[in-house]
């Protein structure tokens, strides 16, 4: 289809532009009008960060063909604070600490603006429902609800405008005060530029060809047809890596692009830099890769068996890392216990789902410094690895950390920066790659799925005598952070309890699944889920309150940890007391006493959701007053 003439009013200004029918409204705003405040988070209308007003109605601009804007009035996040003076709602987001990474915030501010326009007296439950189409991965939403309530009350005159001002620190006390976030104004206004919002003159667009096979030998890659295409500036494969081709947080087992074989679906095989995105995408289809599928292994327990397919030659047993901890004599401890309980626990792979998909720019500067701008959580280590990969001194490699639109560990891996650097070096032009949501989910690390067998021996009075904990984790196709995750899982897994006899073994295993990597709480989440579930099972058997069994076993000041480190102050008892008191916990053994409890439904508990029945019948009436 041919280009067409688009006339609309965007942020109060009449525009007449040429648009392509293939564009979405979001692309038109971001790419053609450089209105990058609203972001792309999912491209499927699920996350809401692209939300704009179309003729005053909140719409997800990733779902709208640009032709729908013909003759319409479009308002993006930039329309709210055109002179830099924030709206009451934006100031309330600043004051309440409602923005963290900030990537969802432009859409969230638009949705909240719409909510208070629809009902200036909306209560917290109605606000929640009106924000239900916008995902935030950082805040847990609480401070966003606080912000909308604050803005509502200021707008309605129930609170003075001074409620939005900075915390007063003229007494000189700065620590321990709720100083407003210094980065919030740029986030609530959409002015902050993430890597995917940045452009450079002469910039090329990068796309990545990914493996369709979980395990296959690469017989051949023919890039000649792609390279011959008009607008294609470069195609790279592992042959273009001049130095040592490997990266990873602990073991450098992952090539920039698959070398000789692919180990998981979604692994990068080749990359293209072209004058525009559409050409780069078309060029991927012109790259011919011949694969010879290999037997694959998808289960970590099967991968540990003799004769299983080997994922990496250097690890013929497929073990990425095993971490042992040994204290005392576990078998004797179980024999001396009054009660021994064994259970099996498992946890699933989960996705970081930061709202900002991976993105980055690279260029070679005037001093021949290979420069990568990306939301990397570890620019120091990435610089070292990239210097080896491109065979240049560390001083000739530079990493700039762009604002990170959520990381949670998922941006610690140098999963795409190597390709960007190589393409910048090959073309001597700036290059940019922005992942789609699907690409981000398929190609990047997950939280380690785990299987734990936990055996605990206790005395009748609740004291733990012995624990054995064995966890097997699916590390997927590459090592990434697996070693560190296994270590933290092992050190912390048995919990902050005095355990005279302990045996812990954690195993990270290679498979042909999506790699597992760093994820907030890093192995300790998986093992402590098992231990803390188990303590309740044991407490029920012994008739002990769950706080009580933990107090009986709690590490105290000066305790020796499971790795025989002597601690100083131990705040566990304070934390137990504080949670017990704050929740008004009614003591008793955990024996399914929910029905009989007297401590439920306090003021600090939210009402349960029953969709569609929660709007207060008098809210319209109040608005009319």
């Amino acid at each position: 289809m041919s280009e067409f003439r688009l006339e609309a009013v965007v942020n109060g200004r009449k525009i007449r532009r040429t648009a392509k029918p293939s564009q979405r409204l979001l692309d038109f705003l971001r790419d053609d009008l450089n209105l990058t405040g609203n972001k792309e988070g999912c491209g499927a209308g699920e996350c809401g960060t692209c939300s704009v007003f179309v003729d005053g109605v909140l719409m997800k601009s990733c779902l709208l063909p640009v032709a729908k804007a013909q003759g319409a009035r479009i308002d993006s996040i930039e329309s709210l604070a055109p002179t830099g003076e924030l709206t009451v709602l934006q100031k309330a987001f600043h004051k309440a600490g409602a923005s963290q990474c900030g990537y969802c915030i432009p859409g969230m501010v638009m949705a909240a603006t719409a909510a208070l326009r629809a009902n200036p007296f909306a209560d917290r439950e109605e606000i929640k429902e009106r924000l239900g189409g916008n995902i935030c991965r950082c805040t847990g939403y609480q401070k966003i609800f606080d912000a909308v309530e604050l803005a509502r009350d200021v707008q309605n005159g129930r609170l003075p405008a001074t409620a939005l001002l900075e915390t007063d620190t003229t007494d000189g006390e700065v620590i321990g005060r709720n100083v407003r976030r210094i980065d919030a104004p740029g986030k609530v206004s959409g002015r902050l530029k993430y890597a995917g919002d940045m452009t450079m003159p002469g910039m090329l667009h990068v796309q990545v060809l990914r493996s369709p096979h979980p395990h296959a030998r690469i017989v051949s890659i023919d890039t000649s047809a792609a390279e011959a295409m008009e607008g294609v500036e470069a195609v790279i494969t592992s042959k273009d890596v001049p130095g040592q081709d490997g990266f990873g947080v602990f073991v450098h087992d992952q090539p920039v692009m698959a070398r000789d074989k692919v180990r998981y679906v979604g692994e990068a095989v080749a990359a293209v830099a072209a004058e525009d995105l559409a050409t780069a995408r078309r060029a991927l289809g012109a790259i011919k890769v011949v694969y010879a599928p290999l037997p694959a292994v998808f289960d970590p327990v099967e991968a540990m068996r003799v004769g299983a397919p080997v994922v990496h030659d250097y690890a013929p047993d497929n073990i990425t890392k095993h971490i042992p901890i040994r204290v005392g004599d576990v078998d004797a401890g179980f024999a001396a216990s009054d009660l021994v309980v064994e259970e099996h626990y498992s946890t699933q792979a989960i996705e970081h789902a930061y709202l900002e998909p991976e993105a980055g720019l690279a260029y070679v500067d005037h001093d021949d410094v290979v420069t990568v701008v990306s939301p990397s959580q570890n620019i120091t280590h990435h610089r070292h690895m990239l210097a080896r990969i491109v065979a240049r001194p560390v001083s000739k490699v530079r990493f700039i950390m762009s604002p990170v639109g959520g990381g949670f560990g998922g941006k610690e891996d140098m999963i795409y920066q190597g390709m960007l650097a190589l393409l910048a070096m090959k073309t001597m032009r700036p290059v940019r790659l922005v992942f789609t949501r699907e690409e981000s989910i398929v190609a990047t690390a997950k939280r380690h799925p785990s299987r734990t067998t936990l055996r605990m021996g206790v005395m009748a009075d609740g004291r733990i005598r012995a624990v054995s904990l064995r966890m097997i984790c699916d590390g997927g196709a590459y090592g990434l952070s697996t070693e560190g995750v296994m270590r933290k899982a092992a050190i912390l897994g048995a919990g902050p309890y005095v355990i005279p006899n302990l045996r812990v073994d954690t195993y990270g295993i290679y498979t042909n699944n999506t790699p597992s990597g760093a994820f907030r709480s890093f192995g300790a989440l998986q093992t402590q889920f098992a231990t803390e579930s188990h303590l309740d099972i044991v407490a029920e058997r012994l008739g002990l309150d769950p706080f009580e069994i933990r107090r009986i076993n709690a590490m105290r000041d000066g305790a020796s940890t499971h790795t025989r480190q002597t601690l100083g102050s131990v705040s566990l008892l304070r934390a137990l007391d504080a949670a017990e008191q704050a929740s008004g916990w009614e003591p008793g053994a955990p024996n399914v006493r929910g029905l009989a409890r007297g401590d439920l439904g306090h003021d600090d508990v939210r009402p349960p959701v029953s969709l569609g029945t929660r709007f207060a019948p008098d809210s319209k009436q109040e608005a009319a007053e």
Binding site: T139, V327, A353, Q565, S583, V609
Partner: protein, 338 residues
């Protein structure tokens, strides 16, 4: 009653900064023209609020206002190494090193003013954008003090490095000193389980966490609230599924995340047990906030309906299957008793 409520709790512990290795970070500080402070360190915001924390730390140490702190950062060619943004290490490692660098810059300015005013450096105070000498009428703004120092040929700068006294683990028994700062926490969850649909709603979480000294309590709450909700995602709904290495959950339509309607009221209780080693007493909160939530929710589900989920996530399907299995067992037990 189709909907049943219950409560559960769980505790946790966590280590702050890199594990079983020596962690380190560096920073530069300058008290700049006009009386602002410039801090340069090689790491940036991933959303947790570190830039604001660093501004507060520098303001506290130097005596300028937090809004007069400028943070230049995030560039391996322009800033000293601060290593990575992770491991719940930012406030601990970068906060502490910025405090040390800011102290050195302040000392340089204070020494200069002491000489100029002919007073002992210890008698000089700073705060709220001003610098003064006790028991005198010397009191000027930081902007004036910086100008005076520069007239004497001094640029008030500081640089610092902060490292941990930690070791690796023994390969056989795991003995070692993986961290120098530990934190502890406890959470209580209240849930409602719909026994007809199997749906679990987490209505409230009380989260008590030791963070060392809290630099910005609102920021600490933000970390706790976000951590609790991410954990609820893993507890109840999120599931990256693979079949023979191919995912069936490659978009947000299939990969389900917690929305505003899924989240509990989070009641945070901040416990401050200061770290005795670092100059600030701070520790960390990013990761530990997530650790006790899942077992607290599973223990609460058990309290409500008597079924225990060992295999995450606790989807409605799994809850219903467990309720059916429990009903069969209960009726068998009754038959056996009869």
């Amino acid at each position: 009653m189709a909907r049943k409520r219950g409560r559960g709790m769980a505790a946790c512990w966590y280590g702050i900064a890199r594990t079983a290795t020596v962690d380190r970070a560096a920073a530069w500080a300058e008290i700049d023209d006009g009386g602002s402070a410039k801090i340069v360190t090689g790491v940036t915001e991933i959303g947790e609020g570190i830039l604001t924390v660093l501004a507060q730390v520098a303001a506290h140490e130097i005596g300028v206002k937090p809004e007069h702190v400028v943070i230049g950062d995030n560039d391996t060619a322009r800033a000293p190494e601060a290593a990575h943004a992770g491991a719940s290490r930012q406030t601990y490692m970068i906060g502490n090193v910025v405090a040390l660098a800011a102290r050195e810059a302040r000392k340089r300015l204070v020494d200069c003013m002491a000489e100029m005013w002919d007073v002992a450096p210890e008698s000089i105070g700073t705060g709220n954008g001003e610098i003064w000498a006790d028991n005198t009428n010397h009191r000027i703004t930081f902007g004036e003090a910086v100008a005076s120092a520069k007239n004497r040929g001094v640029v008030p700068i500081g640089a610092a490095t902060f490292g941990t006294d930690t070791t690796g683990l023994d390969g056989v028994d795991g003995a070692g000193r993986p961290w120098q700062a530990y934190v502890f926490g406890t959470q209580v969850a209240e849930v409602e389980v719909d026994t007809i649909t199997g749906e679990v709603q987490v209505l409230a979480v009380w989260a008590a966490h030791d963070v060392g000294r809290a630099v910005n309590p609102q920021g600490v709450e933000g970390q706790i609230e976000g951590g609790v909700v991410q954990a609820i995602g893993q507890a109840l709904m999120e599931d990256y599924q693979l079949e023979d290495g191919h995912t069936s959950t490659s978009g947000f339509a299939k990969y389900i995340l917690p929305t505003s309607l899924d989240v509990p009221r989070v009641n945070s209780i901040i416990i401050e047990d200061p770290d005795p080693i670092g100059p600030l007493g701070v520790k960390g909160i990013g990761e530990p906030a997530m650790v006790p939530t899942i077992p607290a929710v599973m223990n609460a589900i058990y309290d409500a309906v008597g079924v225990r989920i060992f295999d995450l996530p606790a989807t409605p399907e799994k809850i219903l299957a467990a309720l059916r299995a429990k009903a069969r067992q209960d009726s068998l037990a009754i038959q056996a008793a009869e």
